[in-house]
Symmetry: C2
Amino acid sequence: MNDAAATLARSGPTSANIADWIRTQIRSSRLVPGQRLVEVDIIRQTGGSRFKVREAFQRLAAEGLVEIEEFRGASVRGASEDEVRQLYQARALLEGMCARDFTVRAGAEDRKKLARLALEMEECVDSNSPEKFSRLNSEWHKLLMRGAGNAVIEDLVKRLSTPVHHLLFGTFYKGDRLREAVEDHRLIMDAIEAGDPEAAEAAMRVHVEHGHRFLSKLERAVHND
Amino acid sequence: MNDAAATLARSGPTSANIADWIRTQIRSSRLVPGQRLVEVDIIRQTGGSRFKVREAFQRLAAEGLVEIEEFRGASVRGASEDEVRQLYQARALLEGMCARDFTVRAGAEDRKKLARLALEMEECVDSNSPEKFSRLNSEWHKLLMRGAGNAVIEDLVKRLSTPVHHLLFGTFYKGDRLREAVEDHRLIMDAIEAGDPEAAEAAMRVHVEHGHRFLSKLERAVHND
DNA sequence: AATGACAATATTGTTGACGATATTGTTAAA
DNA sequence: TTTAACAATATCGTCAACAATATTGTCATT
């Protein structure tokens, strides 16, 4: 039994576990922006103590995911359209840099793994399995950043991504978007394999910008319900 | 009396105040990497309650500024050479983008303010006042990002900067570095005033990279003591 | 029925006490 | 003198009770 499991067994989830749980709820839009996070509810659903729940709130507040008001507790913070734009611009720059670095610096194993992930994702389009695609996609982006030797950037991008991913879950991934993403990935992989860092960076920027556009369209569609 | 002051008066500093205080201590290297942050000490020095101090720790941990180990509490987290490299690369990209956006989007007042700040900083070189220079410099960078309409990026860059600024304080700012920075700023201002966003972005990247080199030199010098 | 004052409840903020763990100091044996 | 075992202290993690505030419900008045 590892440490985490041991801790879990003797005294319920840790504050980090609870924070993760909340993050997941937000990403899957079981918790929507503006919604209040009542301590007792979280306690019931996670089994954590009140103290740990509050610690989790603090961490999430520092990440900008929730907002804490005096005597009103924590609530899910939504991002405005302009904030989303800035976040995606930042991502485009940072991931673009990673694509460039990966082209130059990555080891042989990471290159192979990245190619294999891309292939698996292509298969997901045919078999129409958006959840698997979503998971592989996260893996792919993470591997690209870490393989480029930029773990700090990876962490940063993760933080940037959380507050806007509440729409990109499960059934929302339609066939068109999947095909577009696969096409983008192929361009990036080609550039990497050709050893062309400039092209890899440019292609990655385009890819992230595509994601932004797709999200904007989605939000407009939801808004016009 | 504003809200913050009122709160302060009736019940001591808030957890955000304490977090700020700790951040300042770290930046001014009164707290150095590896050093443990003993709760009682912080309580004595800030007047906050233990609960609030711990909340502050959680926030700082989420920002990556301190590390929390079980039963050993919080300690200041130092950045490795490679982490510093990644942080500066991210800054170069993000601030470069802001310089570009400022050139295109900034209002007339912000442009004027930015130019005035740059002038004041030039005077600081002659009068040899590094603390004032440092303050104005922060102002200048902040204004550039906010004037570009990228407040989220500004916040992000602030977080990126904190863990590495412990050396760039007070007397470390030598005349050479000041002159170099002023020269960089002048190039950036020229590009902005000429309405050349590409040049502004490029000049800003160079400027940040200069800052990185300077810091590296400093660390090597300190290390060889 | 609509509105405002007031009470009841729900929720959060704060404090203090207690147990758990790490760190330091002490002593005795090799 | 050095080291290992043990005790003492310092520090941290957790919890439960209480205080402060917000929210909701009720009732009388218009």
